[in-house]
């Protein structure tokens, strides 16, 4: 099974644009876990994360034909997800006058719910992430959880590489302070 051909994102994009719907389904399969987890970490709410993940794919489906360079799909995809996230936070803050920190979902479903220690730790991390402002949380989530390079994050969020480095540094400092009792 290890010899199965694994097309690149760019190849799947080109095939979809030519009418191959299976190529789009392949992109959904490839990105659905990542984008759901991204929204979970960005919003703290599972139900909203599901909804936003679906909305991301609808936007991608509707606008993929306008992507000039298929090899840039990854950054383009995360830019759509990031913009949806910004809209979501604006909407909730406007509607509920709440910070994300106060608004996180109580329902913490983890991949591993076996250990009470893991659950407690995850809850601490989720709360710590929620205390970051939206832009800092965005860069730290894209970097730490999704492995985007500084250049990719800059292209995704629409700022300079220097600004990414600065935001990441500030976010890490803030997280270290929030979780200092867990770090030697």
């Amino acid at each position: 099974m290890g010899d199965e051909y694994d097309p690149t994102d760019g190849e799947l994009v080109r095939r979809f644009v030519e009418g191959d719907m299976a190529a789009f389904a392949n992109l959904v399969t490839r990105y659905q876990n990542g984008v759901f987890l991204f929204f979970c970490r960005m919003t703290g709410r599972r139900a909203d994360a599901e909804d936003l993940a679906q909305e991301t794919f609808v936007r991608v489906y509707e606008s993929l034909h306008s992507l000039d360079d298929p090899t840039r799909f990854r950054s383009w995809f995360w830019a759509i997800a990031s913009n949806l996230c910004r809209d979501y936070h604006k909407y909730r803050q406007h509607r509920h006058h709440l910070s994300i920190e106060r608004d996180i979902d109580l329902d913490l479903q983890l991949a591993d719910m076996e250990s009470a220690q893991t659950v407690e730790l995850a809850s601490r991390i989720r709360t710590a992430l929620a205390t970051l402002d939206d832009e800092r949380r965005l860069v730290v989530v894209l970097r730490e959880y999704h492995g985007l390079s500084y250049e990719e994050i800059a292209a995704t969020v629409g700022c300079s590489v220097g600004a990414v480095r600065w935001r990441l540094h500030a976010a890490r400092q803030q997280l270290r302070a929030s979780l200092s009792d867990l770090i030697e």
């Binding site: 009418g19 719907m21 299976a22 789009f24 389904a25 959904v28 399969t29 659905q32 876990n33 759901f36 987890l37 979970c40 970490r41 599972r46 994360a49 599901e50 909804d51 993940a53 679906q54 909305e55 794919f57 609808v58 489906y61 509707e62 913490l108 479903q109 983890l110 991949a111 591993d112 719910m113 893991t118 730790l121 995850a122 991390i125 989720r126 992430l129 970097r143 730490e144 959880y145 492995g147 985007l148 390079s149 500084y150 250049e151 990719e152 890490r172 997280l175 270290r176 979780l179 867990l182 770090i183 030697e184």
Partner: protein
Amino acid sequence: MEPEKPHAEDQLSQLLSAYDPAMPKDLAAKTLARLLQSEPDQERRRALLKAFAGRVEELQNGLGCSIAVVSIGDCSVVVPTSALARDSQPIPSLAESKEVKSIVREVDEREVPVGVGYTFTIDAV
């Protein structure tokens, strides 16, 4: 360009990895339902259904949720009934569509209303 990996030795990175939310099992099916709702072209909807058919089969293996059979032409897939609604409100173009052939509920055999004024007969499980 290869993505730069987070520094493995960074304690903070390791700590953050402990926040690992569980994946929903029916995300592909719900995504498909949303795509079907947004695609007006019948042929493309049919192609979408075919493309996703093999990716939402897990729903047929006893998830314990209400499921709907969505059919376009000779293609059918199973989606959770929750995929037919957003914020507890039905998606009219899908929930009220004739393409939703039936609702199958595992627990009981009552009729399940989907959408205002629309009720779908429940098939036997």
